[in-house]
Every structure is written in C-alpha cells, then in structure tokens.
Symmetry: C2
Subunit: 133 residues, 2 copies
Amino acid sequence: MREKELRRSMSVLPIGTVMKLTDLTARQIRYYEQQDLIKPVRNEGNRRMYSLNDVDRLLEIKDYLDDGLNISGIKEVYKKQEQLEDERKKNLQKGLTDSDVRKILQDEFMNIGGLKPPSSTFDNPNNFHKFNE
Amino acid sequence: MREKELRRSMSVLPIGTVMKLTDLTARQIRYYEQQDLIKPVRNEGNRRMYSLNDVDRLLEIKDYLDDGLNISGIKEVYKKQEQLEDERKKNLQKGLTDSDVRKILQDEFMNIGGLKPPSSTFDNPNNFHKFNE
DNA sequence: AAAATGATGTCATAAAATATAACATTTGGG
DNA sequence: CCCAAATGTTATATTTTATGACATCATTTT
C-alpha cells in the first residue's frame, strides 16, 4: 500500500492541529525542530506544515522524554535508526532480503570453527533440525 | 480497521490545505458548505477545520459538477445515499444481511401471483432455470 | 553553593491565514 | 435578453503563526 505512505508524509497540518494531536506546546514543537528532531516543511507564507509522520515522531519524542532521555539521547536513537535503514537499503540494492542477510551471518558463524549454524530458538522454534543430528 | 475511519473523520485540516488538496478556491468550499454539501467543524477561533472525508467529498462534488450536475442534483444524490445507508442500518439492526433482504424480496414476488421467483438475468445470467420449465 | 545548561514558559511584534459580507462577473437555459 | 447559479473580488476584523528576547525551573558541573 504505497498510497498510504504517501499520505502519511504529506505536510498538511498546521502547528495548531499538531499541538492538539500531540498535547505539546508550540514552544516545544519548535524547540524539537531547532534540535533537528523534526523538519516540517514551510508553506509559501512561511508557516510550518506537518505530516502524520511528524505527529508520530513528536509522540515518540514525548515518550522518550517521559522515559528520562534527553534531546541528545533521542537524537542518538534516531541517528542509529537511520544507520540501520541505510544498511537495509544497501542490502536491498544488492538484491538481498533480511533473511538472506541472516543466512549469510549464519554461514560466517559456521566457518569460524567448522561448526553448524547456531539456529536460535527464534528462527527455529521447535528445533526441528535436531531430528537430523 | 476502525482506527482508519476515525482518522479519516478527524477534523484537522485548515481551509488552506483543503484548497491545495482539492484545487478549489475558498469561495467554492464555503459555498458548498452553505449549500449543506459539507459541514466542517469550527475550532475555538471559529476557523473551519476539515477531515479527509471532507476532502474526498469535495473531490466528489468537483467530479459531479464536471459531469454537468448542479448543486441541487448533487444534494439529491447525497440524500438518496443517506436513505440507502439508513435502510441498511435498519436491516442490520434486525440482523438481516443484504442477501437476506434480496431473498425476502424474491419471496414477496412469488406470492404475488403464485409464481416462481423472477430470477433476473443478473442473478441468473445464463437462465439455467429455463431447463426446468 | 554557585554557575552553567537544558527544557520550557511568557511576552511583544509582525506577518499570514481565515471569516464574513457585500458587490461584481460569468455562464447556461428559458 | 433576462434570470439565477456558481464563482470572483474586495474590504475589514479576528485568529493563527513566526521570531526573538527574556524569564523560570530543574539538573549537572565545577
């Protein structure tokens, strides 16, 4: 559903609406922007316009702050997240899926000591491979 | 997905945004409201606030006008639509589905002249019943 | 403890967006 | 040609937002 994503990223909400949806003050919202946590677009009249994704992120920021993180911490969280997404993109470009990558990591494990793959409980909940031992 | 509906009906868009999304002028949007085709809510400051459903309806209105309908015609269309929805609700309350209702109508037909159900071409495209005559 | 810093509040000022109402224009049908 | 429907235009008042400065409060740092 590509259309949904598009709509979630359309900047159509004025700051007043965002204040209500997030229960944040304009001061807070602008401050988080100043700290590069969000980047609302500006309309022709220089008013900030927000997307639903922006609203989600602001709600996230609120949660992180409630959890005791400070702005710097939140910034780090998003930096890591971006790195992760970049890696995923790179692999996708190479035609690899997440599960492909998992297999590769497993193979690397195998070659370390000539061992079998670890097959975590998560990947193989019922340990079926054990019947082949 | 009940949440989706809720979000589509949240009045969060100022008229400026709606203008861009629909390519209508403020004058037109307010005029259609005056004609009871839409009913945006007002915020504390008396500004009209629109939902995504409102935007959809405005786009519909645009299409109808392009098709040569006038405001009165469009009003009729929406009146009929409401009537239909009301009927559906009533039947749903009685625990009847659409196909139940169709059966009931067929039965009524039968009793008119002690005849078999009509089985319209739509319901029986190949007229299979004819082989039983 | 004092000072510094981070996060937010508050206030003043300017600009942009919207509401309302009145009058003007356009367009299609009788 | 005239009328009415749909829309444009303009003026005025109010609301909303942007920006920047200064204030406050809590937490760290020194």
